[in-house]
Symmetry: C2
Subunit: 362 residues, 2 copies
């Protein structure tokens, strides 16, 4: 077991806070530079946090929520320092302004809104607190969000590991690991826990165009953890399934509606359809903060469209003709009907989703 324990050495944290609320600092790994360079950014303002989320320096639905929560501490601190007055009313306005601003960074992952709304509720509870305690209270709430996510990652990992085929192939898409969460990840936590439990799985890693989170981040995390894995282009998944090399697929999610429709990284829906065609179970792993039961179905989930340059200049040089029209949605929605189960910190939730998601999270 000694070797297996070594695998538990944590990766660098995607999001970390060092020090107290007044003098401490928010640090993010700049994930756009991985795996070539491991650079840690110090985030000193709400604007810097917004930019880091927008530019995918920090990404992954849970990590976006955590970064935004800490970003709110930094942003409110910054504004309190700059303000000549800081009455209770001022503080409340500042908190609302910072949260509202951070919410404009990315539209799809509900964890962003969930975390910022939770921070606003904490701010409201702290409204009468002494000036010294106000920021400390906000930081404590952000730390709670991070710590709870850590625990959820482990719970998801343990629940998901049991779904993965002993000695089988597991396909995943995008990055759902420690870099996307407080630790271990969601879908990748299930994969890592299956590996640690000796289930002898082999992971097929979709590279995940256009931004290659699978190639750059998931392949890197699995290599660090010693999990056997092979990198493929997204368009090879169907062939692998036809060859009998994939026994399960597991992915994360950015927002899940009340009927189980799940938004996740573009390409997820195609994986789900391919799984259905080949009779392979397709699982979605996500913490409760990713479920948005206020939406009846996936049609209400806003889908972010990103710049065409991500496709035409993906690898540092132009790979498409000048002036070409491009469509670049960052997410797609997989209907609940294609999902074999949701792996959550409360266990595996099966269809019928309208009923069972309400029971779990309603």
């Amino acid at each position: 077991l000694a070797d297996k324990d070594a695998d538990l050495t944590p990766s660098p944290k995607a999001v970390a806070w060092h020090g107290d609320a007044h003098t401490g600092r928010l640090e993010l790994i700049d994930q756009t530079l991985l795996p070539g360079e491991l650079k840690v950014l110090v985030i000193e303002s709400a604007e810097a946090a917004w930019e880091a989320i927008k530019q995918l320096r920090v990404r992954g639905a849970p990590a976006i929520g955590i970064a935004a929560a800490f970003g709110m501490v930094v942003g409110v601190r910054d504004r309190l320092r700059a303000a000549s007055a800081s009455s209770v009313g001022d503080r409340s306005a500042m908190a609302n302004e910072v949260a509202g601003y951070l919410k404009t960074s990315r539209p799809t992952a509900v964890n962003l809104f969930w975390a910022l709304d939770r921070m606003l509720r904490a701010a409201a509870r702290l409204s009468d607190a002494p000036a010294d305690s106000y920021l400390a209270g906000l930081l404590a709430e952000a730390e709670a969000i991070r710590t709870e996510d850590e625990a959820m990652c482990v719970a998801i990992g343990k629940a998901g590991a049991e779904l993965l085929p002993i000695g089988g192939g597991v396909l995943t898409h995008c990055n759902t690991g420690a870099l996307a969460t407080a630790d271990f990840g969601t879908a990748l936590s299930a994969i890592i826990h299956a590996h640690l439990a000796g289930r002898n799985i082999h992971v097929w890693v979709d590279e995940t165009r256009p931004l290659l989170q699978g190639a750059r981040l998931t392949a890197w995390e699995l290599q660090q953890r010693g999990v056997p894995a092979t990198l493929i282009c997204d368009n090879m998944a169907g062939m692998l399934m036809r060859q009998g090399k994939v026994q399960a697929a597991i992915v994360g999610a950015d927002r899940i509606a009340a009927n189980g429709d799940a938004a996740n990284k573009i390409g997820t829906y195609s994986v789900a359809v391919l799984c259905r065609h080949h009779g392979i179970p397709f699982y979605v792993a996500a913490p409760s903060s990713t479920f948005d039961l206020s939406l009846a179905d996936g049609s209400g989930i806003p889908i972010e469209e990103r710049t065409s340059a991500e496709i035409t200049h993906g690898f540092g040089r132009r790979t498409a003709p000048e002036g070409v029209a491009v469509y670049n949605p960052a997410f797609d929605v997989t209907p609940g009907a294609l999902i074999a189960g949701f792996v959550t910190e409360k266990g595996v939730i099966r269809a019928p989703y309208v009923e069972n998601l309400r029971l779990a999270f309603g």
Copy 2:
């Protein structure tokens, strides 16, 4: 109609011969540099032709066959010049040696073997010809292969155009245009002829990882021809189909077995499965030289695996961790059962394929 005629201006030829058999030269567009640079290579030896095919400087099943046929003229000429004697027996040995060598360049596209075998039959017919006529006869055979392909491209284009939905969306994968053939292409010929016939289609172009033939070549050809088109990542096709934006898919093929199983660029099979799930017709366009009725089904088609660097260093920089395991098949096989019809120079061939392909090409 004047504007439409302007669209017929030919692209630079992927493969061209200039001059006579003794002093003429073989020219290829180096397609690895497109669309950034339009560079024409002069091919002076069988070795240079082999390298150009191997490195995908010339690619696309029909164009590979044509380039190999001209490459054989160049290779035999080169060896005749170098040889001290050139008896009938020497010539035959040389022709066999050059053809055998060129056949080792790539394994999947049957057009390569088909064209070289046809050149060998011409060489055998010419065995008693005077020295002057021998090379001229080989060149005439290569020119015949090219000219026949040109005619087949037009016939395929006209037959395929009628299958494409008026005012609808058409998805294609990889490059099957003028760059892949003698002119117009196969699947892309159908698309171009549908456009010229005023069918008002919109083309969705899969970028086609890893080598981006869709982004680099198909988007470029459609832009030159004035056909409305939008570039997407391969993993976006499913979402587009779910959104109702795709009414047909049409692709090429590298080898088609007697039962209709079709090898084509990796990712084609996933497109076919996605089409089946969404009730969208999926067509394969190919000339008769792509059908290999000696194979009962697709399991006999050799699938080329290429270097991992195509995935890990796609376009000039590393985008995956050092030492990562990679699987990089260049082709996959789509079962005939997923194919709505084959568009050939003899018209559209429908299932049952075992019977109808034998009737057409047996």
